[in-house]
């Protein structure tokens, strides 16, 4: 600094100040006011998994909003409302979801762990609320409770609560993992009760997802494979037995085996959604140009939104959606594998598995691969509780990804 350096214009050359990111400045600010030690801050750069999950989830949510607009506008219009009505609601839920996601991301999961018990209890109680006068039936499933204009599906909250609780006890009892009375039985009890509640709500899809999440988490926790296989077999058997008790479900299952011959009635939904998917072809009909949503595909904006996406965006859109879930799976499990501790590993693995398995069951059902069970497509389908809880879960997943061990 002895001789000033001049640039071509004759000004004194001032070397740029060291580049400081927003995160740097925030950190400085927190330090200044003395709050930094209360914050759970990672100082390393976010991993690739963090960004990948963020982008994948962001793309799915935003694409979902667009497609909800496209698919729900007809429903809204035919109900005599503004075509924007359902989309507007979904946007509000997305904003809430974003807020919850940020809170979930910012709140250390150690703090979550303190509330897993109460959260589970509250969720169970909420699960019973649909049977109260507040309950609302949609498509035969009494799985919603209404608060004025908004409705909530408690089973969505229960999914996260069950996952948190089981991850907590499985981590705490990691050492005695093979003691099935201490690990598997409690988990099964929790799962069984959740599944049972969903089932009596006539929401078979959610019951299956509970079972799947639970089996996945127990599997990842390291419970003996043969035990898990037994559990899976038994739950499968129970599921089939329960499904067969209901005439409508049985007919639907039979119809599923022969879609073409039952396209008029029991397989109507799936047949229409298959038509819609096929209609998209490779390039798609164009956003808004789909025909399935014009009353042909039932629940086009919620459970069957994949059919509309496939029709309007074609195979390209399908690749984006499936690619998004694949990215979520890949980086979610990567985050889980490199997680800082066993609890967050199980949590991340559980969330990832939940999303991917629910997406597979949904898309498989919509495309006629498996019987339809009535599930939303996570992050995409219309449905406030589903979106809100999914985005909260993504917040937790991002927290785990942010704090990954760097190998």
């Amino acid at each position: 600094m002895s001789t000033p350096i001049f640039d071509v214009t004759g000004e004194i050359y001032r070397p740029a100040a060291p580049y400081r990111t927003v995160a740097d400045r925030r950190r400085e600010m927190l330090d200044k006011v003395g709050l930094i030690k209360q914050r759970n801050l990672a100082t390393n750069a976010p991993s690739m998994a963090f960004y990948a999950i963020l982008i994948a989830a962001g793309v799915l949510v935003m694409l979902g909003l667009v497609m909800v607009l496209s698919a729900s506008s007809v429903t809204s219009l035919h109900a005599g409302d503004s075509p924007w009505r359902l989309f507007g609601r979904q946007c509000i839920w997305a904003v809430f979801g974003l807020a919850c996601g940020v809170v979930a991301y910012r709140t250390p999961y150690t703090a979550w762990r303190k509330f897993v018990g109460p959260l589970l209890l509250v969720s169970y109680i909420l699960m019973l609320a649909p049977f109260s006068p507040m309950g609302i039936s949609v498509n035969g499933a009494r799985a919603w409770i209404g608060f004025g204009a908004f409705t909530i599906q408690p089973s969505e909250i229960l999914k996260l609560a069950v996952l948190l609780y089981c991850a907590d006890i499985l981590q705490r009892r990691q050492k005695e993992i093979h003691d099935i009375k201490r690990t598997m039985i409690p988990c099964l009890a929790i799962m069984g009760f959740a599944s049972f509640l969903s089932f009596i709500q006539k929401d078979l899809g959610t019951a299956i997802v509970f079972a799947a999440i639970m089996i996945g988490v127990m599997m990842m926790a390291g419970i003996r494979a043969r035990n898990i296989a037994g559990v899976a077999f038994m739950s499968g058997l129970a599921g089939v037995a329960l499904a067969m008790t209901d005439d409508r479900r049985r007919m639907r299952f039979t119809a599923f085996l022969n879609l073409e011959d039952n396209k008029g009635h029991y397989a109507y939904q799936v047949y229409q959604s298959i038509l819609s998917i096929s209609n998209g072809g490779v390039t798609g009909a164009g956003i808004g140009q789909g025909t399935g949503k014009w009353g042909y595909v039932p629940l086009a904006h919620s459970d069957f939104i994949f059919a509309i996406i496939a029709e309007e965006l074609g195979l390209a859109g399908v690749v984006v959606i499936l690619g998004g879930f694949l990215a979520l799976a890949f980086f979610g499990f990567q985050a889980a594998i490199s997680a800082r501790d066993h609890f967050s590993a199980l949590l991340a693995g559980g969330i990832t598995f939940w999303f991917v398995i629910q997406a597979i069951i949904n898309i498989g059902g919509v495309s006629g691969l498996i019987p339809v069970t009535g599930l939303t497509l996570p992050l995409i389908s219309y449905g406030g509780s589903s979106l809100l809880v999914s985005m909260t879960a993504i917040g937790l997943l991002l927290q785990v990804a942010r704090n990954m061990r760097v190998s």
Binding site: D24, N44, A111, E176, I277, S278, W294, F325, L346, G349
Partner: protein, 640 residues
């Protein structure tokens, strides 16, 4: 990994220092706080302690197991996603055509766009018949959600009676049908009100309604059925010309059958039909209708026909038929009776037999015949309408006074076969070139089949039947200098691009020599000046013509009704100006009041002729001849 044990100050400092350096440094909740907030529960203390210990740099067996299982889980997820992808790809690529067709089948609906039917113009380009836009509303009951509500909603808009509403509801409930008319050919305001309801299963299409402006010339224009297909008159005759080629429109509909916005695509544009230009003069047609109606009503007749025709070209300016309805009201007939109905022409046909004899050089207008008041032929007596003794009459007088016996005598100068060939040549026994739907050819038996008195009566117009159209064309031969010119109704066609294509001129053939023709013309002028047709005279215009009073054959096969009365068919055919005829007019009155003096051609039809002649003179601006000599000093002859 040792920073877990270092002091807070150290960590803070290092965090700030290494802000951009990726390390695994992180503030992790400590076991101490955890322990403080979660009191140890009896029964599981040891577990908590061990699990809350710091992560190790080396992985434990259990952690490795977890990681392995997570990897496996991922591959399971990957495999399932791939299967789903294959399934969707299979649907979108391999089975695309199959399902796309099924998808199209269920949502496409072909709609026909009706081509505009050609307009029918009069000779001056005034519209006679045209299609006006209207909308037809129909229902597909299989898509109607609530038949009763739908019907009552429609009823309130369409102002249906409760009975009609009930019937509609019943039709809408019949789901075995998928097409039911709700209302045909509504005007556009009404149709908009219906379509704005956007009822499920209720659709509309535009369908033009055919309108004949003021009902003028309805008798020749005819009708179309509600589908726009000509079923009578020129609409039927020129249906192929007038009908265009329908277009096709494809709409996509939603599951409730409502059309999906912005999916209408036109597959084929409709091609409008060609326009017809008639020879009709709309104004003359209107006035002819009115004048004839008035005359027929005055005479309490059953009906009447009138034809106004261009003498040179055969173009028909006006052609009118009046009928008395069963209610006693007189109205223009919806049918072209002039072409459809045939009667025995009576005395008008004397023109033909006399002209034939003159043309064969057997007689001239001055040849004299001894005509008795009556004469018996075998068992049949022919008598003149006016009683007289044996009288020397020239040919001119015979025709002027319309003597039946005189005409028979003249006709006997030529062979029956020759008379027959003249009758044929004048256009009888065959349809005219109009070829109007249901046109009658009249009735003319072959000459070999003429029996007994028929050979005689044919000379004065009995024993064969003609339409008014045939009759006017026959008499017009005299007006046109001895040349037959076929009547004509269609002047031109105009195609979609506005190209006017004139129709071919009427067929002509020579029947009489010009000298015969002019001799006949002069005799027929006398008919109007001196003879039976004086009431056909027109101021400042020389008129030539011939009256005719026929007895109509009755049900019993005689010319008498069962109570001994007669039914008349009074007619007058004439043309003017006599020097150079431009217009030929026929008026026939069917069954004028038999008790009235005005039951004869000269009294019933001739005054109407004079009226129509004035209309034609005014409308066609025919100049009176400058050397108008009028009629010579009146020598009124009573006759008919």
């Amino acid at each position: 990994m040792s920073d877990r044990n270092s002091s807070m100050a150290d960590r803070k400092a290092r965090a700030l220092r290494n802000a951009k350096v990726p390390t695994s440094t992180r503030v992790v909740p400590r076991a101490t706080t955890q322990r403080k907030r979660r009191p140890v529960t009896p029964g599981r203390p040891s577990v908590r302690k061990t699990t809350q210990s710091a992560p190790r740099a080396t992985k434990t067996g259990r952690e490795l197991l977890t990681q392995q299982r997570m990897k496996k889980t991922f591959f399971v997820c990957f495999a399932l996603l791939f299967v789903v992808f294959l399934r969707v790809g299979y649907l979108q690529v391999v089975k695309a055509d199959h399902y796309q067709q099924a998808s199209l089948d269920q949502r496409l609906r072909n709609n026909t766009i009706k081509a505009d039917r050609g307009v029918i113009f009069d000779r001056d380009g005034n519209e006679l018949a045209l299609s006006v836009p209207s909308v037809t509303v129909f229902a597909d009951p299989t898509y109607v959600v609530d038949p009763i509500t739908t019907a009552s909603t429609l009823a309130s808009v369409l102002r249906l009676t409760p009975k009609e509403e009930k019937a509609l509801a019943k039709e809408l409930a019949a789901t075995d049908d998928n097409f039911v008319y709700v209302a045909r050919q509504l005007n556009e305001d009404m149709a908009e009100a219906v379509t704005a309801l956007n009822l499920a299963g209720i659709y509309s299409y535009s369908e033009p309604t055919r309108v004949v402006a003021g009902e003028v010339a309805r008798n020749i224009i005819g009708r179309t059925d509600p589908d726009g297909i000509g079923i009578s008159g020129l609409e039927s005759q020129f249906d192929e010309v007038l009908t265009g080629v329908d277009g096709r429109q494809v709409i996509e509909r939603d599951s409730d059958g409502r059309s999906i916005p912005s999916t209408r695509s036109i597959e084929r544009e409709p091609e409008a039909g060609q326009d017809l230009v008639l020879t009709i003069n709309r104004s003359m047609q209107f006035q002819t209708d009115a004048a004839l109606l008035q005359r027929v009503a005055e005479l309490k007749a059953r009906g009447g026909n009138a034809i106004v025709m261009n003498s040179k070209t055969g173009e028909i300016y006006a052609i009118s038929s009046i009928r008395r309805l069963d209610t006693g009201v007189y109205t223009t007939s919806p049918g072209n009776l002039s072409a459809v109905e045939a009667y025995e022409p009576g005395s008008v046909a004397k023109v033909i037999s006399v002209a034939a004899a003159i043309n064969e050089n057997r007689v001239t207008d001055k040849s004299v015949f001894s005509v008795p008041g009556w004469q018996r032929f075998d068992d049949f007596t022919i008598r003149d309408a006016f009683p007289h003794d044996l009288q020397q009459m020239t040919v001119r007088e015979i025709l002027t006074q319309s003597s039946n016996l005189g005409t028979v005598l003249i006709s006997q100068e030529i062979p029956t076969e020759t008379l027959y060939s003249y009758i044929k040549s004048f256009g009888f026994g065959a349809k005219t070139d109009l070829n109007f739907p249901n046109e009658s050819a009249g009735l003319l038996r072959d000459v070999e089949d003429w029996r007994g008195t028929e050979k005689l009566t044919v000379a004065y117009g009995y024993g064969f039947a003609t339409t008014s159209l045939q009759l006017v064309a026959a008499v017009n031969v005299i007006a046109n200098g001895g040349e037959y010119v076929a009547p004509k109704l269609v002047k031109a066609t105009i195609d979609g691009d506005g190209n006017v294509k004139d129709t071919a001129p009427s067929e002509t053939h020579r029947v009489l020599t010009p000298s015969t023709s002019s001799m006949m013309l002069s005799i027929m002028k006398d008919v109007v000046c001196l003879g039976t047709g004086t009431r056909a005279q027109v101021e400042l215009m020389n008129v030539a013509g011939k009256t005719g009073t026929g007895y109509k054959v009755q049900q019993n096969g005689t010319y008498n009704t069962n109570d001994g009365g007669r039914k008349y068919f009074a007619s007058f055919v004439g043309f003017f100006p006599a020097e150079n005829p431009e217009v030929t007019i026929l008026v026939s009155i069917d069954e004028p009041d038999p008790s009235s003096q005005d039951r004869f051609g000269g009294t019933a039809a001739a005054p109407a002729f004079a009226r129509l002649a004035q209309v034609a003179i005014r409308e066609l601006q025919i100049q009176p001849t400058t050397n108008h000599d009028g009629c010579p000093a009146n020598v009124e002859v009573v006759g008919h």
